[in-house]
């Protein structure tokens, strides 16, 4: 089904003349069916035949090339083998899925064309595509629209109409800041839904400090952010300053190359600031095993493995992890290259740093000064007291006092002071000073000042070791089987690494953010697209390799990637360009006439309806009920959750719900225990933070219904919403219904919708607020409420 669908599409979406048959049609078949045994993995290669590179690149003897590929399919041994009748002769082997007739036909055509190979599309640096000529020239608002429309027109499909102003406003609020527009904002836009007004809204939202929260949370998925260590003990950790850093960086529109560099190697920049060191928390989000009896080296290596895999998935869209144990089965990535990347990460210590604010720093200095003034006085007193007075005191120690002493102390005091060992002297001095009132007075004075020291926030960072470690390849990925020594480096199939042989994380960051890199810009703009359309242009957003899906709109992808570089890696400018496009602003309603040709909407003949992310479902509830505390940043918070969840892991913990406004903070600040995560986040598909997550799944289950219907947090929000409705200054119930509907859905209700809700209202009793409670619950449970249309 997969390739049938994909092949259908490839034909569908490749504008005439631009099709690269090898990349689009042939390689997917070879990769799926042949590369496991005839691909890059030399250890498991069969019959010394390699099909993933052109035979002349593999130094294959020319008569063998001739025999295998022939001059056309009829004279090719490859064709003979894939069409052999005998099970023993036919390829792929009979225990593997067979080639379809269509697939065989594509191979035959390719052989007839002389079996041309070309470089994998994703490994060629993107360039801006030529602009197509269009029929419906008034539709495009932006360049990318022209490219999307060209594909639609080549399939004789017209784009969907513009979504209603209400939908477009709610959509862009949810996508850019994850908070609902107010009724006033809706009304004002609906009154004047001009292009100019829309652009103003977009610019306002991009400038909002909530933008950094909404897009920061996307990034935290990639960063596998959590507030605990994972594995069995799952102790808590403090790394929220890194989360704050992400939010700030996105709000400032930090250029993406700098964004990478500071997170991978902020500490290695010249005159690194505190913020730049905090940024290295990106790779400290790995789990830590605190279980007894572990081999610490094993889990140090596990962390680095996770860092390499994350680097591959997040920045390169490559499945590097396959090459941990053996050469990659599909992509030209070799095991030695895996450990070359590993080597960049192998020279660090994992430390915590304290983060005093300037005020705190000044305060600490003042306090230390006070202490420093008192210490000499105490020390002088002590120096005198432990001479004669101590010897005298020994004689006065009563039996009653002695009873409370331990064995060592009793032994000491039973002998002459002149015979005491250093340890005995120390023990008795301690006892003596504890009993000396004057000394205690001086000591307490110091202690009480010490207590005034502020408790400083900490965060987890990377720090380069003075002595580099030697990195060795691990046979089969087993850390106990060390093989050849490797030095830092990058996969040869990509742009060259120009750093030094003992390269650091900084050199890796420069390589990743190099304009020559064919992947990073594409992978990132693809992910932004995914967040704005519910699916990337390359659907397999973490696999741009041979097994990944092909881009549905290669020109759009390349245009945006090139544009990303042209804007100086400005994330906000790319997002702005996308949300201002006609493509983005289309209606998301299903188009039954396209059910057969494009049921999944790969062609973008409309927008997609996308269920909100777990955290945003909480945020919109809080924002509709006017409960939301919009404070940005800081440590994790504890909204209510059902009892007993924290008993499901090894360590049974308490969860004391916040009582103040922290109870109503945005979902992204909910304290995240990896072994016992907050249930209403998990039920709506929040990532588990064990490994990087570059795309969330979106399930639709009865447990979600139970959560929205019955969970205490959502019940509290429904109560607050009911109160908001009942106390609203409208004369009639119908006006109030209208108001409530606008609050939650940002549009006026249809008559049929008013009818359903007013019937529900009629069935309720009690005071005003409790009468509105069922209506409030209903609105917060609607599919439309938790969906961005």
């Amino acid at each position: 089904m997969y390739w049938a669908l994909c092949l259908g599409l490839c034909i569908l979406i490749s504008p005439a003349g631009s099709a690269d048959d090898y990349n689009n049609k042939v390689k997917p078949i070879l990769s799926q069916h042949c590369f496991t045994c005839h691909g890059p993995d030399s250890k498991h290669r069969e019959g010394e035949l390699r099909l993933d590179v052109a035979p002349y690149d593999d130094d294959m003897a020319s008569d063998r090339i001739k025999e295998l590929f022939g001059s056309d399919h009829a004279s090719s041994v490859i064709f003979e083998r894939i069409t052999a009748q005998d099970d023993d002769d036919r390829m792929p082997p009979s225990d593997k899925p067979a080639l379809t007739e269509k697939e065989i036909g594509i191979i035959a055509d390719w052989l007839d064309d002389g079996a041309p190979y070309s470089k994998h599309w994703a490994f060629i640096a993107p360039t801006k595509p030529a602009m197509p000529t269009l029929k419906q020239d008034d539709w495009p608002r932006t360049t990318l629209d022209r490219l999307v429309l060209a594909t639609l027109e080549s399939n004789d499909i017209s784009p969907a109409p513009l979504a209603t102003p209400e939908t477009r406003l709610r959509r862009v609020y949810l996508d850019l800041i994850g908070i609902l527009p107010t009724i006033e904002q809706v009304s004002s836009f609906v009154a004047n839904p001009s292009e100019e007004a829309y652009t103003q809204v977009v610019d306002k939202l991009l400038a909002s400090e909530h933008f950094g929260e909404r897009w920061g949370r996307h990034w935290l998925d990639n960063a596998r952010y959590a507030d605990s260590n994972g594995y069995s003990i799952d102790g808590s950790r403090q790394i929220w300053p890194y989360r704050d850093w992400v939010i700030n960086a996105l709000n400032e529109d930090m250029p993406f190359d700098q964004f990478i560099t500071e997170q991978l190697a902020g500490d290695l920049l010249p005159n690194a600031t505190q913020d730049q060191r905090v940024a290295t928390g990106f790779h400290r989000n790995t789990m830590i095993n605190q279980e007894g009896g572990i081999d610490k080296e094993e889990f140090r290596i596990e962390s680095i493995v996770d860092r390499v895999n994350t680097t591959g998935a997040v920045f390169l869209g490559l499945t590097m992890e396959c090459a941990k144990c053996h050469d990659h089965k599909y992509d030209p990535l070799y095991q030695s290259e895996y450990y070359k990347l590993f080597a960049f990460y192998n020279n660090d210590d994992e430390i915590d740093i304290e983060l005093p604010s300037p005020n705190q720093k000044a305060r600490l200095k003042r306090i230390q000064k006070e202490i420093d003034a008192l210490v000499p006085k105490r020390n002088a007193y002590k120096a005198e007291a432990i001479k004669e007075p101590l010897t005298a005191w020994v004689a006065t120690v009563t039996e009653e006092t002695l009873a409370k002493w331990n064995l060592k102390e009793k032994d000491a005091i039973a002998t002459e002071r002149s015979t005491w060992t250093d340890e005995q002297e120390r023990l008795i001095q301690k006892r003596f000073l504890a009993a000396d009132e004057k000394y205690q007075e001086l000591e307490n004075e110091i202690r009480s000042i010490e207590k005034k020291k502020p408790r400083l926030p900490k965060t987890m960072v990377l720090k380069k070791r003075p002595e580099a470690r030697v990195t060795q390849l691990f046979e089969q990925g087993d850390f106990t089987r060390k093989a050849e020594v490797v030095t830092p480096g990058t996969p040869a199939v990509l742009h060259p690494y120009k750093g030094p042989e003992n390269g650091s994380r900084l050199d890796l960051a420069h390589w990743l953010s190099s304009p020559e890199n064919p992947l990073t810009a594409r992978v990132m703009v693809n992910r932004y697209w995914q967040y704005l359309f519910g699916r990337g242009i390359v659907e397999t957003e973490n696999d741009f390799g041979y097994q990944g899906s092909l881009p549905t709109h290669p020109e759009v992808l390349d245009y945006l990637a090139a544009q990303f570089l042209d804007t100086g890696w400005s994330i906000k400018k790319i997002i702005r360009e996308i949300v201002l496009s006609s493509t983005y602003q289309q209606s998301s309603h299903r188009r039954p006439e396209l059910d057969v040709i494009d049921p999944k909407n790969y062609l973008l003949a409309r927008q997609n309806r996308v269920r909100l992310d777990a955290e945003i479902i909480r945020d919109v509830s809080l924002s509709a009920s006017d409960q939301l505390d919009t404070t940005i940043g800081g440590p994790g918070v504890y909204p209510p959750q059902p009892d007993g969840v924290l008993k499901l892991g090894q360590s049974s913990r308490a969860w004391n719900p916040d009582k103040g406004s922290d109870r109503h903070r945005r979902g992204m600040y909910t304290f995240f225990w990896r072994a016992t995560p907050y249930p209403s986040l998990m039920v709506f598909d929040a990532p588990n933070a064990m490994v990087t997550c570059t795309r969330r799944s979106r399930s639709n289950t009865p447990l979600q219904a139970l959560t929205l219907l019955n969970d205490q947090a959502f019940i509290e929000q429904a109560q607050a919403l009911a109160e908001r409705i009942s106390s609203a200054p409208m004369a009639t119930d119908e006006d109030k219904l209208h108001y409530a509907f606008m609050l939650c859905l940002g549009r006026a209700p249809e008559a049929s919708e008013v009818l359903v809700l007013s019937n529900l209202l009629k069935k309720s009793s009690g005071d005003q607020t409790s009468a509105w409670f069922p209506v409030a619950r209903t609105l917060l449970n609607l599919d439309e409420f938790i969906t961005r249309e």
């Binding site: 089904m1 997969y2 669908l5 899925p97 994972g230 594995y231 095993n289 279980e291 009896g293 572990i294 081999d295 998935a313 499945t319 599909y330 106990t480 659907e539 973490n542 041979y546 097994q547 899906s549 998301s588 309603h589 299903r590 188009r591 039954p592 049921p599 309806r609 059902p642 007993g644 499901l648 892991g649 090894q650 990896r674 072994a675 016992t676 588990n688 064990m690 490994v691 639709n700 289950t701 009865p702 447990l703 219904a705 139970l706 219907l709 019955n710 969970d711 205490q712 249809e750 919708e753 359903v756 809700l757 019937n759 529900l760 069935k763 209903t778 609607l782 599919d783 969906t787 249309e789």
Partner: protein, 485 residues
């Protein structure tokens, strides 16, 4: 509205439900897939022999109950009788045994010289027609030896708890892979329309090390993850309607939600809304079916006595009884965790009274579950599995008392029903109980066998993630043919 678009829309999304629309189990997933409803990047179900006729296997088991003894029960105190080990008690183990081996706590075998062997003080006898050895610790299990099969040589790869538990559940020591129960529900769906297809129950002094990832769905859709049922309070989180809301009001709200959702479905045509509507209906049904499931008041006194259940008291025994009730209601995979089997010899987990305690907690009910399933005719179609994440060393470990360290080379598990032989012992360890000498079994083989018994070819149940077709058995695993009926 007419039913047609509604059904079409519903059909499109139905796969991602953990409640299948049709209770046909086998083949329901396949059907959808053949109709082309898979997302391109979603799965690779087409490779599954289940529905394309290649490698199709008749299922012996329809359900699985996995009794997970968390911590690693000592096979040498329970099943693996080693008189030679007793004879050489307190003698140093020959270096050849431990050369190049990894143990969790290398430093606590004792300070003087190589680790010393520890013979058990437990009394072993042979039971039943099969003559299986069982120690005094498990008198009830001793009574069912002719109904079960012992696997004496189960090996794993990793010697620490959390990674080993993850390994036993997901076939990988690294976090983030789907668990067995998720794979199975993904592969063949659930028979229940009112309960989740994968349920997790817990007992013992604490939760299992690792927590949620042990029953997580990894890269499979979240709808396949295990749902913990609790023995006190709501069995499922947020199951009951809050106290201040009466049932009529709850029904009215759900009706209004569904009506408005239907309006929106008409306007947008989005099948997700149809799925949301059925989710709300099923949630409402669950509000009565889940409490009914957990309500054991209609069970006979004889049944309660068989398990050793005391009403109103959460226990492993209660969980065993619930497990039977769940599979009767079509739950595909039930996993029971009982903690504190980590008998290093510390005061809370020693090989004397503390081992007695956990054995007492689980022995009667584990045996009762097999007997009860058998007498109800359910054992034939239910695969019962008993075991932990790894075994324990033949060498003693010096803590407050002498205990045993984690051991990955061999442990004993037992299985019953669902197409597994009765009264059979598979494999044998050496005289000291260190390594297999006959028929070694790896966790991957165990997984391959479990899937096989459910009618699934473990090499064909795959999911495309990051460009690779992942399997529960990774690239390993052989079905243990000798174990099959």
């Amino acid at each position: 509205m007419s039913d047609a678009p509604y059904n079409k829309a519903l059909h499109d999304v139905t796969r991602r439900h953990f409640f299948k629309q049709c209770g046909v189990g086998l083949g329901s997933v396949a059907l959808n897939s053949m109709l082309g409803n898979e997302s391109a990047a979603d799965s690779n179900l087409r490779n599954m022999g289940i529905f394309n006729g290649q490698g199709q296997k008749p299922a012996k088991a329809l359900n699985v109950i996995f009794m997970f003894m968390a911590g690693g029960p000592s096979q040498l105190e329970l099943f693996d009788y080693k008189p030679v080990l007793q004879k050489y008690n307190n003698q140093p183990i020959p270096q050849s045994y431990i050369e190049g081996k990894r143990f969790a706590f290398m430093d606590s075998f004792g300070n003087d010289g190589p680790p010393k062997l520890l013979g058990t003080v437990r009394d072993f006898k042979q039971y039943g027609d099969s003559g299986a050895w069982v120690s005094e610790c498990l008198p009830h299990t001793a009574k069912i030896v002719d109904d079960i099969s012992f696997l004496k040589t189960v090996a794993t790869d990793v010697p620490n708890h959390a990674p080993a538990k993850i390994f036993m559940n997901t076939g990988s020591g690294q976090f983030g892979r789907p668990s067995m129960g998720s794979w199975i529900n993904y592969g063949i769906g659930s028979e229940s329309q009112e309960l989740p297809g994968f349920v997790v129950l817990q007992s013992g002094p604490r939760g299992p090390r690792g927590g949620q990832p042990l029953w997580g769905s990894g890269f499979l859709p979240a709808s396949h993850q295990g749902v913990p049922f609790r023995s006190q309070g709501d069995p499922i989180l947020n199951l009951s309607t809050p106290e201040n809301i009466n049932q009529d009001e709850q029904r009215n709200v759900i009706d209004a939600v569904n009506q408005l959702n239907r309006n929106r479905l008409d306007v947008t045509g989005d099948g997700e809304i149809a799925a949301r509507i059925s989710s709300y209906e099923m949630a409402y049904r669950m509000q009565s079916s889940a409490p009914e499931l957990m309500d054991i008041s209609k069970e006979s006194q004889a049944t309660l006595d068989l398990y050793g259940v005391k009403e109103g008291e959460p226990s492993y025994a209660m969980n065993c009884l619930s497990a039977r009730r769940m599979i009767e209601r079509g739950v595909r995979f039930v996993q029971l965790y009982h903690t504190n089997w980590d008998h290093h010899g510390g005061n809370s987990e020693n090989l004397s009274d503390k081992l007695d305690e956990v054995c007492h907690d689980v022995d009667q009910a584990s045996a009762a579950l097999v007997m009860d399933l058998k007498q109800r005719g359910l054992l034939e179609n239910t695969l019962v599995i008993w075991g932990g994440e790894f075994g324990r060393t033949p060498m003693g470990e010096v803590r407050d008392t002498i205990g045993r360290n984690h051991h990955i080379d061999s442990s004993t598990m037992w299985m019953a029903g669902g197409g597994v032989k009765a009264g059979y012992t598979h494999g044998e360890t050496d005289e000291l109980g260190f390594s297999p000498v006959d028929k070694p079994v790896h966790v991957h083989d165990l997984h391959a066998t479990i899937l096989h018994l459910l009618g699934i070819d473990h090499e064909k149940l795959t999911y495309r993630f990051q460009g690779r077709d992942f399997r529960l058995t990774d690239v390993h695993g052989h079905v243990i043919e000798d174990l099959l009926v």
